[in-house]
């Protein structure tokens, strides 16, 4: 096999499309011809992406889960694995929401300035008004 013929067959050799006899011819030539051997190794730099059957290394395939049924199973398992965590966050959110509701229900709201000024009640009965942005002293007689 000539150098030209050998190099033309690199892609087929990489993709394992050659029959045993042809593959042997290639490997024999590569063993004897250092120039073609060097070319083949340079070819192998990009072959894992350009000449692989499925576009190259697939992490999921190398975990033994390439099959679609198993892949689906993994997806279900993964979603289940995340489920308790999601549940935990839901529980935390619910507790926070409940605390908020309890706080709002038990706390007397701060009256607004208008409410304070127009209220018929004595100023002293307006609880927590001291926390407002405008202290009552500013409006006291």
């Amino acid at each position: 096999m000539s150098c030209f013929e050998t190099r033309k067959q690199f892609a087929n050799f990489w993709r394992k499309r050659l029959d045993r006899g042809q593959a042997v011819l290639i490997t024999d030539h590569l063993r004897e011809c250092s120039s073609c051997d060097h070319s083949f190794r340079a070819f192998a730099l990009t072959a894992p992406v350009l000449h692989s059957a499925f576009g190259g290394y697939d992490a999921s395939a190398h975990r033994g889960i390439a099959g679609s049924a198993i892949y689906k199973l993994r997806t279900v398992r993964e979603s289940n694995r995340h489920a308790p965590q999601a549940g935990k966050w839901t529980a935390i959110a619910m507790v926070l929401a409940a605390s908020m509701v309890a706080y709002v229900a038990t706390t007397v709201p701060n009256p607004s300035l208008t409410e304070v000024l127009t209220s018929p009640q004595p100023v002293s009965t307006l609880s927590s008004v001291q926390d407002s942005a405008f202290p009552l002293d500013d409006f006291a007689g």
Binding site: T27, A44, L45, P48, V49, G55, D58
Partner: protein, 213 residues
């Protein structure tokens, strides 16, 4: 006479619907039929995207985007064209858009090789050709190094190389897919190979890597 339908009647199996029948069903409002179409082509589209990008998340997102684009644009699909060709064109365009969006970093070609890449480099230096073809797909480093090299190319160079070598498309087919002239495809492929050879020499000659020296 009867073919697939008659055989299905005898065996009681549900006949396999063709792509065109599924497309017609989707157009008639059966969205689930699109799920079947997507199931048929998901792996093929993922493989194509994986030739452009090494990030599995990105590959998944792009694949999903392709099917979303296909679903949204199904009205523009002409049934004279095989569905496989149409969805591949969408994937090629989506990948090309993404390639152009990303900044090319040729300066990173020979900097900071990972240990996986270095191990693959060692193998490239010492393993026999049969061993290399046998183990490359199990080696993350092989894939990463190949992407590193391809990432240093211009987007259109990479596009042509992937379609010509990876997908083994003919010049005419690439020209039709990209809307380029055949002459442009040939010239671009020639320049892409030149550029790839130049970048491969940089990797091979890299002092840090030192393999094949």
């Amino acid at each position: 006479m009867g073919g697939l339908g008659a055989q299905a009647e005898i065996t009681g199996e549900v006949p396999v619907r063709t792509d065109q029948e599924l497309v017609a069903d989707v157009r008639a409002g059966d969205s689930a039929a699109f799920g079947e179409l997507a199931g048929r082509y998901r792996r093929r589209i993922e493989s194509l995207c994986r030739r452009f990008f090494s990030d599995p998340e990105l590959v998944r997102d792009l694949t999903q985007e392709c099917f979303l684009r296909a679903f949204a644009g199904l009205d523009s699909y002409r049934c004279e064209m095989p569905f496989a060709t149409w969805i591949r064109t969408i994937a090629v365009n989506a990948s090309y858009d993404e390639l152009r969006r990303r900044r090319r970093r040729p300066e990173e070609l020979v900097a900071d090789f990972t240990s996986a890449e270095a191990q693959w480099g060692e193998l490239l230096n010492h393993a026999s050709p049969e061993e290399l073809t046998g183990i490359a797909e199990e080696r993350r480093g092989a894939y990463e190094l190949a992407h590193r090299l391809l990432n240093s190319l211009r987007p259109e160079d990479r596009l042509v190389l992937v379609l010509r070598d990876g997908e083994e498309m003919g010049v005419n087919e690439i020209a039709q897919t990209l809307g380029w002239s055949e002459a442009k495809v040939k010239i671009r492929a020639f320049r892409a190979r030149q550029a790839l050879r130049k970048q491969a020499k940089r990797v091979i000659g890299s002092r840090r890597f030192g393999f094949l020296a």
